[in-house]
Structure formats: C-alpha cells, structure tokens
C-alpha cells in the first residue's frame, strides 16, 4: 500500500497539478469573449503545440529521430491512418538505432 507519507503527498499533489492544467484553460476561457483575434488564437493552438513539441525533438535528434518524424508525417499523409504513421515511426526509429549500433 501507500506506506510512505511523502509518496502519498506527491501522488495527491501531482494529481492536483495535472487536473489544474487540464481544467484551468477551459475554466479561464469562460472569462474571455470570442472576438475574431481570440478565435484566431484558438485556431492556431493545435498546430503551435505540434511545432513546440516536434521542433526541439528534431533539433536535438539525429538520423533516427528525423527518420521517425518523416515516417510519422509521411505515412499518415499517404494512408490517412494515424496507426500506420505511429507504427511506422517507431519502427523507423528502432531500425535506425539498431543499424547505428
């Protein structure tokens, strides 16, 4: 069971922090009116999150990571099926890392 009180505290704290993130953005939008600029901002969020996550991965990565990103994007683009993109990306990364060793 949860024997150590500091671990229990961490589980509760991190759960609260995570929920605050999930509910916080939704809650705050209650006080923001949907003017055209706000709508423009909301519509740009998805692609911006993609850029902010993938940019540093591509920058810090090497050929395996580049191949993985190319496979994820290329295969999803061609097949229209997310699953193929994910499996292909993982396979590409594993293969390239295996070849490098």
């Amino acid at each position: 069971m949860l024997a150590r009180p500091d671990i229990l505290a961490a589980v509760v704290l991190l759960g609260c922090v995570s929920y605050a993130c999930r509910a916080g953005g939704y809650f705050l939008m209650r006080y923001v009116s949907l003017t055209p600029p706000v709508q423009g901002w909301l519509q740009a969020i998805p692609i911006s999150i993609v850029g902010a996550i993938l940019g540093p991965i591509a920058w810090n990565g090497g050929p395996p990571e580049w191949a993985g990103l190319a496979a994820a994007i290329g295969l999803t683009w061609l097949t229209g099926w997310d699953f193929v993109g994910i499996v292909g990306a993982i396979a590409a990364v594993a293969l390239m890392r295996g070849l490098a060793v």
Binding site: G25, S48, I53, T76, I86
Partner: protein, 236 residues
C-alpha cells in the same frame, strides 16, 4: 461555436462508445509507454499500489516519467510539482480549445471529462471536429477506457517489466513525437497556418536552450498561437 450548434448531434451513449472504440488506434503505444513507466517506478522503489495510484491520479506519461528522474527519499515535492506543471502546461492550451466543444454541457459532466483529457483524446477530437458527436461523451469514452488501460499497463510493467528490455532500443521513447507527427498531418489539413507553426517551432527550440525544465513547450505553443490572433486582428 459551430461545433456546439451542430444540428441533430449524436447521443451521449453513442458518442461515448465511438470515443471508446476510436481510442484503440492509440492503445498499443499507450500500453507500452504505461509499461515503461511501471518499470521505471519499480526501479526507483515505488510499490505496485503506489505506481498504480500515481498513474491513476496524474494520468500523463511525460510528466510521470520526468518526475521519476528527480525521485529521492523524501520526494522533492517542489521539483516534481514544477516538472509536472511544466510538462502538463500544454493541457492549459488544449483545455482552452475545448471550450467550443463542451461549453453547452453541464459543468459537473464537463469537469469530470476534463480529468480524462489526454494528448490522444484531444488529437482525435481535433481530427474529428467536423462531425456531430456529443463531445463530452466522446472525450469521456476514450479518456476513461485509456485511463483504465494506463493503470493496468503501469501495474503490468511494474510486475513483469524486466522482460521488456531497454525501451529505447525499440524506439518507445519516440511515442509522443510519433503521436504529434501524425497529429501534424490532420491539423495541417484542417488549417494551413504556416506562421504559428514556424514561430512555435523556433521559439520552442530557443526556449529549450535558454530556460531550464520543460517550459519550452508552453512558451513555444503560446507565442506561436498568439501570432494567429495578430493575423486575425489584421484581417478583421
């Protein structure tokens, strides 16, 4: 508010089932990442129940794994709290985009649904946004089924994870990147916004170099998306 206003939207039950089924596309990867977390949790000395409670309450692979990097006895609460906040800050932006999906539903249902909001369900909802689901049902269905699998995978990894070997060799650490790589395609097809993408990309890379911790995701995404507002203000 076009999504909320969609005529003759599907029932809660039918949308819940659709979400619970469509999420299986993501499931193999979620199970593997959950197992990797379970292995890491047993390595730092968490018991089976502690690891399961961790996954059940936080429900965010990146934040959970990053927190374990700084694990000690006693647990450094400030460090793990800030790490979790930094990695999960992207959910603040995702939650903001959910307003138009959920605003017309009762608050208790919406705030329960938001507990189960994860990258995978958010990506699927954004991909399918032109359909007429009851989005509370759709997100809850996918999020709840995945939450159960996430806890089960954590426990399986904790108990039997040694059989997995080195997850890096199988490219499993690349899962989040693969998710967002596939999401990039559907997001790009929906709205071809070059400026926010490029700005977010460049700012995130710069922020990662300059600011410690994983805050670069929020900083890049926030500044990138704000360029979308500027573009609209000019057009309007």
């Amino acid at each position: 508010m076009t999504i909320a206003a969609a005529a003759a939207s599907r029932s809660f039950a039918s949308s819940f089932c659709a979400g619970a089924v469509l999420i299986w596309v993501m499931m193999p990867s979620i199970v593997l990442v959950g197992m990797v977390f379970g292995v890491m949790a047993s390595t730092v000395g968490l018991t089976l129940m502690e690891a399961a409670a961790f996954s059940g309450s936080v429900y965010a692979g990146g934040a959970q794994m990053a927190s374990l990097q700084g694990w000690a006895d006693p647990v450094p609460l400030l460090f793990v709290g800030l790490t979790t906040a930094a990695l999960n800050s992207r959910y603040v932006l995702m939650g903001a985009t959910m307003r138009s999906f959920l605003a017309h539903r009762p608050a208790p249902l919406v705030y329960t649904t938001l507990f189960f909001l994860v990258d995978a369900t958010w990506i699927l909802a954004m991909r399918d946004r032109d359909t007429n689901y009851d989005w509370a049902g759709y997100l809850l269905g996918g999020g709840f089924v995945m939450w159960l699998m996430w806890i089960a995978a954590t426990m399986a990894g904790h108990e039997f994870g040694q059989l997995l070997g080195d997850p890096r060799a199988y490219g499993l650490d690349f899962m989040l990147a693969a998710f967002f790589g596939t999401a990039a395609v559907s997001f790009w097809r929906h709205s071809r916004r070059v400026t926010p993408l490029i700005v977010a990309l460049v700012v995130a890379i710069a922020a990662q170099k300059l600011i410690p911790g994983p805050w670069y995701i929020l900083i890049g995404a926030l500044i990138g998306s704000l360029t979308g507002a500027i573009g609209h203000a000019r057009a309007a």
